[in-house]
């Protein structure tokens, strides 16, 4: 500390030069960082709250299993689907979860390539969140089909009948996009965890833990050669994953953009969906980060700087989707298409018009508070805004999918949509599944990458003038 020049700013959490929040609280050493992260996993006393939370989430998972079992027994008719609204909660939830899954890869890959080092302390659980969100998302295409046991027909596998899937269908593109994304996310997540696995192996007291972490660390010894290969692998994977951030949701948006339905058939969907995905993804990271840093006392590692930055990202992506909404309305007028014009009118003032105004309020109006630094740096307020945004993004998909379908080209076939209890149980169930998986994650894996965090410490900085390292390292 002594080396830092005097500064008019007294707050130790603020960078004296830029005046910004620090990425990591001052005073941390390699050891303290490692200690702080690994103690959560290696503690012998699992907090009671964890048991309570996991039991709660687990019971919701059981509800999800019930809902899915009934679905397989009876058919998708237990949901509120009908003709014309043949896609309902399942697809909304799918798109919503996939969107949430974007933040992880964006933080770990995109920001890695752009050398945004502040990402380091949040990327691990953001990636975990991505994987769990992708699991929740991938569930829906599987169960939403009429005959789930034949869902594998969407996969192009050689078979005796020489029947191939239809490569013109965006749903097939989805299969590739989501499965690629899922695989890359898991691999990236795991590769990123290897050095930490080594740390865990070394610090773990129990035999079982040592064995498992030892397996997972795949012989990590921290040699320079290991580090070099690790860094290259991360960079390569980041290079692979970065286009995926853009492509996955673009492909998902093709499900709609390729269709001819007014409200779906629009060229702006790919960028607008990606922005929306990042928007909701960051909101979910905040939704998770705020309670975690509070409960596990990680304020030093997940600092206000992170919250502030994520708030800014949300603000920016929120404005992009606001532009998308504006373009929807503009194009309805500019295209002079009666169908488009009616679609927008119906979206705003039709029988389900309230959903549109919920979405505008949640996604555009309230997030404007993020212009204020106070809202970005106050964890509680930011947490509330993130909840609002996630609600809004769910409604965005509801409006796009359901409201567009209720009234399309032929007035005689207009219909409506009413979700059933099974719809809500499935939506709630995946929230439970996500939470349960997250509970397992925070309990058994280091949720903050220790190795990457150490890089952020002043000690790791290579300075032109050699200075003595602090003791205790």
């Amino acid at each position: 500390m002594a080396t830092i020049p005097e500064s008019p700013v007294n707050d130790p959490m603020l960078d004296p030069i830029t005046g910004e929040n620090l990425v990591i609280a001052p005073g941390h050493t390699f050891k303290s960082v490692t200690e702080e992260v690994s103690r959560i996993v290696l503690t012998g006393h699992t907090p009671l709250g964890w048991y309570f939370g996991f039991a709660l989430a687990g019971s919701i998972v059981i509800m999800l299993l019930t809902a899915i079992s009934w679905l397989v027994l009876k058919g998708v008719g237990i949901w509120g689907l009908d003709i014309p609204v043949a896609w309902g909660f399942a697809i909304i939830n799918f798109v919503w979860w996939i969107g949430i899954g974007h933040a992880g890869t964006l933080i770990s890959a995109f920001l890695l390539l752009f050398k945004q080092q502040w990402r380091n302390s949040i990327n691990r659980f953001a990636e975990a969140m991505t994987i769990f969100a992708v699991i929740c998302a991938a569930l829906f295409p599987l169960i939403h089909v009429g005959r789930p046991w034949l869902g594998y027909w969407l996969i192009p596998y050689p078979n005796s009948m020489n029947v191939w899937p239809n490569f013109r269908s965006p749903l097939l593109w989805d299969v590739f996009a989501v499965s690629t994304y899922g695989i890359i996310s898991v691999v990236f997540w795991y590769i990123g965890m290897v050095p930490d696995m080594g740390t865990m192996r070394d610090r773990c007291k129990s035999k079982v833990g040592q064995y498992i972490y030892g397996l997972l660390s795949v012989g990590w010894r921290g040699s320079v050669r290991h580090w070099m290969r690790y860094e290259s692998a991360c960079l390569l994977l980041a290079g692979l994953a970065t286009p995926l951030v853009l492509s996955v949701h673009s492909v998902i948006s093709f499900d709609f953009a390729v269709a001819i339905l007014p409200g779906w058939h629009t060229a702006i969907f790919p960028p607008y969906f990606v922005a929306g995905a990042i928007y909701s993804g960051f909101a979910m990271v905040i939704t998770l980060a705020v309670p975690i840093r509070k409960w596990y006392h990680l304020e030093d590692l997940i600092t206000l700087r992170h919250l502030d930055n994520m708030g800014k990202v949300m603000l920016a992506t929120g404005l992009i989707i606001a532009y998308g909404y504006a373009m929807d309305v503009f194009m309805a007028w500019f295209s002079a298409s009666r169908f488009e014009y009616f679609m927008i009118w119906n979206r705003m003032f039709g029988p389900i018009g309230w959903a549109y105004w919920v979405l505008i309020t949640c996604n555009i109006v309230l997030p404007q508070l993020l212009w204020l630094r106070k809202f970005r740096t106050n964890p509680t307020l930011l947490f509330l805004i993130s909840l609002v945004i996630n609600t809004g993004m769910w409604f965005e998909r509801f409006v796009i999918i359901v409201v567009s379908l209720t009234r399309d080209f032929l007035p005689s076939s207009w219909g409506t949509y009413k979700a059933t209890r099974w719809d809500y149980m499935t939506l709630g169930g995946t929230l439970g599944l996500f939470t349960a998986l997250f509970f397992l994650f925070v309990r058994f894996l280091p949720m903050i990458p220790m190795s990457e965090l150490r890089v952020l410490l002043p000690q790791s900085k290579i300075r032109p003038k050699a200075e003595p390292l602090e003791a205790g390292d």
Binding site: G75, G80, P84, A86, G146, R147, V163, P165, I260, P411
Partner: protein, 1085 residues
């Protein structure tokens, strides 16, 4: 044999299973009774609840007691005793305990009898009736295959559906001797192959699993022979008194043979009475005919020669409830097709005026329509008559000023100008005064003998049924009725409420009920005899033109039912004469030619006797018969109008799932009836749709949900009869409310002075089409009216419905392609390569001018394509499975709209949005341009439905098809997959018929001829609105239709290139009445 007709002697060997061992010695009828006991037990209990009787039971005998009783007895005596024991309910209990509960199903009588009949048919009936059905399970293979049975190749038999308003001649498709599809008889002069919704649905009526299966005595199963014994004993007794105390109550008699039998029976029983009662009957017309002509006649309208038609609340375009519907609709539509032919290069369109109360498709097809209360129609008719100078006609004051006067005088002027070329048609649901006025007007205009002819009645025993039922109940109350034989009538349910038939039944010694179901009346009767369906029996009937049509069995009675003829025959001297012999004897003498047997075989082959149509009678209405017009109900009071339901008619088809599910015309409602009223009235009474109101009429009350209908007259409620059944079966019991509870013998048609109160409850209605009013401002794309239909406004604006008046059409023959309408993009404006169609390219053209919205096509599609019935809740949710629907758009003010009917089914797009998005290729393009569905490949992602702009794809959200009910399995079309859950389905232009025709053509090494393939909807369409064929063949009918300038594709601007196109409407409103709402073409914003 005829009395023990179904006694299955000797079938013991054909059956297997444990039951054989112990029951071998019981006689067959008895055994059948025991097997049925379990199912009948429930009915007993129901009967007991209903009638207050205790279920018959003389002390229960346990197994132990039975054993004790039989202890020590041996040999034959033992078995005879058990046989006797079988008479007691205790024995049935024992049977139940001794065998598994499924025992009854194991020895399904259908199976057993079916087997015998397959064998029997091959020997005795081959080629003649071939009436049998395949067993459910294989018992024995054929030793010798019946000569005419080639499995997989259907055979066709002619028969007729006897309906109160005249028989509908049919050609029945039969697969392995199971009737699987009913279509009009194409050779019959009356209907020329067309058909209607109710007739189509009687197929399901026959296979109805809830049909009564056994004769019952006081709720207990008895062999039919026991009834015969009792009935003949009664007949022998009564002979002495000439039949005093013997009353027969039937529904409308349609069979000349039956009438002849009764005439014979009357010789033995001159005091016996035959009375008829159908709640929907022709009393008004018969009364008017009797008054005007002195006798009962039928009026036949020959619309091919009518330039101007005036409907006086006559719904002659929506279904067979109106006598002569099929011919009237065809003749009407032929004058609307405007298709130039070499013989008639400039076809002239007719003009239809409608004055009506309850909105009907006839009213909405009318070029000028006025909705008035039912009680005002008589005043209108009298005013028209007065204006035409009919002696004695009194003009009604309300028609002497304002828009009404304008309307009246325009019609009068038009009628006057078209004397002899016009027709005035009165509705059967109107009072005799309206019919008298129509007779007088037609006579004054010189139409009689030209466009209107009078013939003898189709009903061989015409009667004023409202008087009949009153006479009967009075005699019952007076204790004069000893034996009452009810033939196919259900008076407990549908008798006028004031007569209280059920209570009067208590004063009759013996009531016999012959019916297809154990219905409300059967529960109160002593004897119930299960009726054979018309597809299972021999009879005859006249089509409305008079042509004698033979009713032949297509299958032996599934449940051994008996016919009306069989009952009546036992009153005659030769009681064992079969139905076949009775019919044959009745007609064979009058057949032409020397070889009567040959002539008879030709009759059976054709299904009708040639040249038996009625000859017109020269009759003149008595002058001055028109006196006194019944007063209209006072202004401001609520009037209640009773109407037969367009689907379930008077309630007799309540258990037919197809009829319940198919949305009714105009209201698009299924599964229910409702108190229909105008938007204005509903608003004034402060009611919302689906609110339940209590309707009070002369102290009688009924609760009904409210529904508003465009074009409904104010201050009037329309109530459809036929709902609120108690004992119709699993489908028909429950839905709707019973309007008969308000209907009294004094006011069978309509009544004034109703009061309504809001109950505060609501009742969900399954309406398949949304109906919103357009509250959008002009800026938002609306018309700012607030009273127009949103769907209607959008449909016109989007060019989905296009029409013009005759004058506009003459000026702009290409009005359907107005510059304001987005038009079809060029064929190459697509990313994907165009398909090539080298040989056949199937297409369809639908003439919107001809479509009268009668729903016959929907029923035909249900039967042809094994479409599942999903039930009310699923229908309400939006999961109805119909492949073709009639889209009804209302244009203009919803209180006086114009309506457009558009049959909508898969358009078989060449550039199909569904095909591109299916991930597994389950919906693909055929080389002939069909969008075909591969059910096996469908995973059920439903993307195709989302991307279908017409939303004609239907998804099996749950397991909708019934895979378990045995009788329904027999009904299915074997050429069409029965879809399971999780797959998408849709219209494929009846691809199975295309394939069948291709195979036939391939065998003869030729091309398919135009007209060789007809789709089910096309085949049945009464007006020929649907034409299917090869559009590559420029000489085909469909290609010629599509070559018209009026041809347009719905939503073709999406570049989907639909194969189904529509011929734009041309309407012919009276220019003097032309309202501002008529636009020549839709506007595009």
């Amino acid at each position: 044999m005829s009395w023990t007709g179904d006694s299955a002697a000797g079938t013991g060997q054909a059956r297997r299973g444990p039951a054989d061992l112990d029951l071998n010695n019981l006689d067959d009828g008895r055994r059948e009774a025991e097997m049925a006991m379990e199912t009948v037990k429930d009915q007993n209990e129901m009967a007991a609840l209903k009638t207050g009787h205790e279920p018959a039971g003389e002390g229960l005998l346990t197994l132990e007691q039975a054993r004790a009783k039989l202890d020590g007895k041996t040999g034959k005596k033992y078995w005879r005793s058990l046989d006797e024991l079988a008479d007691t309910p205790a024995f049935h209990e024992m049977v139940q305990r001794e065998f598994p509960t499924e025992a009854a199903e194991w020895i399904d009588p259908v199976t057993r009898r079916g087997f015998l009949k397959v064998m029997g048919a091959s020997l005795a009936l081959a080629g003649l009736s071939g009436c049998t059905k395949q067993p459910d399970e294989q018992i024995y293979p054929y030793i010798k295959q019946p000569e005419d049975l080639v499995l997989g190749r259907p055979v066709y038999f002619a028969t007729a559906f006897p309906f109160p308003t005249g028989a509908i001649p049919l050609l029945v498709k039969s697969d392995a001797y199971r009737p699987i599809k009913l279509d009009g008889n194409p050779e019959h002069p009356f209907n020329r192959g067309t058909c209607d919704i109710i007739t189509q649905a009687t197929l399901l009526d026959m296979y109805d699993p809830d049909r009564s299966q056994r004769p019952l005595y006081r709720g207990e199963v008895r062999p039919f022979i026991e009834f015969v014994a009792a009935f003949r004993a009664m007949a022998a007794d009564k002979k002495a008194t000439g039949g005093q105390g013997l009353y027969i109550l039937s529904d409308t008699v349609t069979s000349p043979t039956l009438a002849a039998q009764w005439k014979k029976a009357q010789k033995n029983f001159p005091q016996a009475k035959w009375l008829q009662w159908d709640p929907v009957n022709r009393d008004s017309w018969y009364t008017a005919s009797k008054t005007a002509f002195g006798d009962y006649y039928d009026a036949q309208y020959r619309l091919e020669g009518a330039d101007v038609i005036l409907s006086l609340d006559a719904d002659f375009l929506s279904g067979i409830a109106h006598p002569g519907f099929l011919k009237l609709a065809a003749d009407y539509a032929n004058r609307r097709k405007l298709l130039p032919t070499p013989s008639n290069p400039n076809p002239e369109i007719n003009r239809l005026y409608a004055v009506e109360s309850t909105p009907s498709t006839t009213g909405f097809k009318a070029d000028n329509r006025m909705a008035i209360k039912a009680s005002e129609v008589a005043g209108f008719a009298a005013s028209v008559a007065a204006a035409l100078g009919v002696a004695g006609a009194q003009a009604d004051a309300s028609w002497s000023s304002g828009p009404r006067q304008k309307f009246l005088s325009a019609i009068v002027a038009d009628l006057k100008a078209n004397g002899g070329k016009s027709a005035v048609i009165p509705g059967d649901q109107q009072s005799p005064a309206v019919h008298l006025a129509a007779i007088a007007i037609n006579q004054a205009l010189g139409n009689a003998g030209k466009t209107v002819v009078y013939t003898e009645t189709v009903n061989p025993m015409p009667a004023i049924q409202g008087d009949d039922i009153k006479t009967l109940v009075a005699d019952m109350q007076a204790g004069k009725v000893d034996w009452l034989v009810i033939l196919n009538a259900n008076p407990v349910y549908n008798c006028p409420a004031d007569l209280n038939f059920e209570q009067a039944m208590g004063r009759v010694n013996t009531i016999v009920h012959l019916g297809s179901h154990v219905d409300e009346t059967a529960l109160g009767a002593h004897w119930h005899i299960n009726n054979a369906h018309y597809l299972e029996s021999w009879s005859d009937a006249r089509a409305y033109d008079g042509t004698v049509s033979v009713v032949q069995p297509m299958i032996d009675p599934l449940y051994g039912g008996k016919t009306t003829q069989e009952i009546i025959q036992s009153l005659l001297d030769d009681p064992d004469m079969s139905g076949y012999d009775a019919v044959r004897t009745n007609w064979i003498g009058s057949l032409p030619g020397a070889d009567k047997d040959f002539a008879w075989r030709k009759v059976l082959h054709d299904g009708f006797i040639t040249d038996t149509a009625f000859q017109p009678k020269t009759v003149t209405a008595k002058t001055g018969s028109l006196s006194g017009t019944p007063a209209a109900s006072a202004a401001g009071t609520l009037e209640v109008v009773f109407r037969p339901d367009p689907n379930v008619y008077d309630g007799r088809y309540a258990n037919v799932g197809w009829l319940q599910e198919i949305p009714k015309p105009i209201v698009s409602m299924s599964w229910d009836n409702a108190a229909l009223m105008s938007y204005e009235t509903r608003g004034r009474l402060g009611l919302a749709e689906e609110d339940v109101i209590e309707i009070e009429l002369n102290g009688r009350k009924v609760s009904a949900p409210v529904f508003s209908v465009p074009g409904h007259p104010d201050d009037m409620l329309s109530l459809a009869l036929g709902y609120g059944r108690q004992n119709a079966g699993r489908v028909g019991s429950g839905p709707g409310f019973n309007a008969y509870l308000l209907r009294t013998s004094a006011a069978l048609l309509f009544a004034g002075g109703a009061k309504i109160t809001k109950t505060g409850k609501t009742y969900p209605l399954a309406v398949t089409k949304s109906h919103y009013t357009d509250h959008r401002s002009v800026f938002a794309g609306g018309d700012g009216s607030g009273t127009h239909s949103l769907e209607g406004n959008e449909a016109l604006g989007r060019g989905i419905v296009r029409y013009a008046t005759v004058a506009d059409f003459k000026q702009h023959p290409d009005f359907a392609h107005d510059e304001n309408i987005p038009e079809d993009p060029k064929p190459n404006e697509t990313l994907f390569a165009n398909w090539r169609y080298d040989k056949n390219a199937w297409g369809m053209a639908i003439d919107m001018n001809s479509c009268v919205g009668c729903n016959a096509c929907i029923a035909a599609c249900y039967a042809e394509n094994n479409i599942a019935v999903v039930g009310k809740h699923q229908t309400k949710t939006g999961r109805i499975m119909q492949w073709i629907r009639i889209d009804t758009y209302f244009e203009g003010d919803l209180d006086a709209p114009r309506a457009h009917f558009q049959p909508m089914t898969c358009q078989q797009c060449e550039n199909a949005p569904c095909e591109q998005v299916c991930p597994v290729g389950a919906t693909i393009h055929s080389p002939e341009g069909l969008n075909v569905m591969v059910y096996n490949r469908c995973v059920g992602v439903r993307y195709c439905s989302n991307n279908c702009p017409y939303k004609v794809r239907k998804f099996n959200f749950l397991l909708f098809s019934d895979f378990t009910t045995p009788s329904l399995k027999l009904m299915r079309n074997p050429d069409v997959t029965v879809r399971s859950r999780g797959v998408m389905e849709k219209c494929t232009y009846c691809t199975q018929r295309i394939i069948a025709a291709k195979i036939a053509a391939d065998k003869q090494n030729r091309d398919i001829r135009d007209g060789e393939i007809v789709t089910a909807c096309q085949q049945t369409c009464p007006t020929g609105a649907i034409v299917f064929g090869n559009i590559n063949d420029k000489q085909s009918r469909v290609a010629k239709l599509k070559a018209q300038q009026r041809n347009y594709g719905v939503l073709a601007d999406l570049n989907v290139r639909p194969r189904t196109t529509y011929i734009a409407e041309v309407i012919n409103p009276n220019p003097d009445l032309d309202e501002a709402q008529i636009q020549s073409a839709p506007v595009n914003s």
